[in-house]
């Protein structure tokens, strides 16, 4: 039996895992700069958070395009309950980040304390959860993994 295939791929290699580190890095970074603002009161840290959340949303949408293409292109992925959790978890992270982007448009401490930093931290927890599930899909259910005979992907 062959493994569930990735549809959004180059030379048999799925692109979704290559794109997800970008939003993860930006959104974890935003949580760190929120903490830095809270601890130092330096105004620039709140501005860094705004840019990082914005970049996180844009790159998350890129990763989502790859993820949705894989999800819609392979019935055996849709058949995995974990894949639905992974999708909803990440959509929620994007929605919360959009709200957080708006909250961070406020001036001064109202950008970060307390709503902004709570949202940033919640998004980080969600990303950990979603990342764990993504790993389950690949490492246990072999989603996108090359078949043993090496022929089926091509």
């Amino acid at each position: 039996m062959t493994n569930p295939r990735s549809t959004f791929r180059i030379a048999g290699h799925p692109l979704h895992p290559m794109l997800v580190p970008l939003p993860i890095g930006f959104l974890v970074g935003a949580f760190l700069t929120d903490i830095a603002f809270w601890q130092t009161g330096w105004a620039s840290f709140a501005y860094f958070s705004s840019w990082l959340i914005g970049a996180g949303i844009v790159t998350a949408l890129l990763a989502a395009v790859a993820g949705f293409t894989d999800f819609l292109g392979e019935p055996r992925i849709r058949a995995l309950r974990l894949a639905w959790w992974h999708m909803f978890g990440n959509l929620l992270a994007v929605v919360l980040s959009v709200v957080n982007f708006l909250v961070h448009m406020r001036d001064g401490a109202a950008a970060v304390l307390p709503t902004g930093i709570v949202l940033s931290g919640t998004v980080v927890l969600l990303l950990l959860f979603n990342g764990w599930i993504g790993g389950e899909m690949v490492f246990r259910h072999r989603v996108g993994v090359r078949d043993a005979d090496g022929g089926s992907e091509l």
Partner: protein, 449 residues
Amino acid sequence: MFRPAGLAGLLAALALVACGKGEQLPEEAGYGPNPTIPAPDYAALPPIRIATPVGWPDGQTPRAAPGLKVEAFATGLINPRWLLVLPNGDVLVAESGGPAEPIKRPKDPIVAFAMRKAHGSGPAPPNRISLLSDRDGDGLAESRTTFIDGLEAPFGMALVGQDLYVADTSALLRYRYAEGASQPMGGSAMVAELPGGPINHHWTKNVIASPDGSRLYVTVGSNSNVAENGMEHEVNRAAVLEIDPVTGATRLYASGLRNPNGLDWNAETGALWTVVNERDEIGDDASPDYITSLTPGGFYGWPWSYWGRHVDKRPYPARPDMIARALTPDYAIGSHSGSLGFAFADGAMLGPRFAGGAFVGQHGSWNRSRPAGYRVIFIPFASGQPSGAPIVVLDGFLNGSEVFGRPVGVAIAGDGSLLVADDAGNTVWRVTAVTPPLAMGSPVATSAD
């Protein structure tokens, strides 16, 4: 498994959290010595309502109060903002625009776009001072000539003897002026540096001299809404500075004034008065702009509190010690009204109703779900303090979602008329009494006013 209703509900709940509550109080509640100050509403999506400037249709003017009439004193100007009446009756007008601000965060381009829209798409402000002359006294300036060119962003002007002071946006300059001249003699000398770029958020600087000419007072607005760029960018800002015209020595005269512009001396008490634009993005009804007499050394709350000790939680870290020092201003004139121009009525000949008090130019709001300001008001005074409700002197600037013009600086002309600089309308208006109170050669009528 997919539940669109649940997602829609979540988004609706989020929208409710993000948007502000809107207007909750009648307009009068934000006026007078004891305005109603609602709790701050830190909405993530503050209302932005910007009227589009379209200019004045031919022959149309603002609407003057009963007993007054208004005519154009000068048209075809470019962003006229501030006025100085010279001893011979000539009028200097600063035609200027603020420098572009650097983009520091994603919000900045959005706000910059909105502000560009508010100032129309006409030619770029020339950053010059023009001389308007009405030598034949018919109430229309028959000539406009360039008086000083090549400035950075000029605003306030003051004349002490032959010394003409110009508050350019990053320097206080001195020129030599002889009465009746069409240009200053020679170049400028710098009296003192003023807080300028690179941010220079509130860029308009006004200047007035003490009655004996020995000190100058300069308004400097804040570099932010509520110090969100950091207090290190607010040195000598949100303040009225006292400057020695000889040495340029500068000290804080009064501080905690978010964006002070108009300045005038009260003849009765000798106190210096200013008009202040208060902060944005805490709701439609907070916090009111105000006029106030200045206590030397006084602190008026910005950024930590507004209208005395009403706490704003946005400046961080909090400074309860500063809030404890905050003085309450004298008289509120509406939240977000954009009040900029200020002139006491000394010398005005607009009838007894407009004799003792102050004129205020209200440029108009952007951060309010229903527009406020866009008019010139008169605040009656008694015994050196505001007394009673404001009277609308000029309105009709706003027309639905469009504006014909926006009033800024106000000044009393040599003939007792009121001059109003209208930046979006590119006009200087002249307001006079319909019937001069003491017309020469006619019997003195008893006023029914």
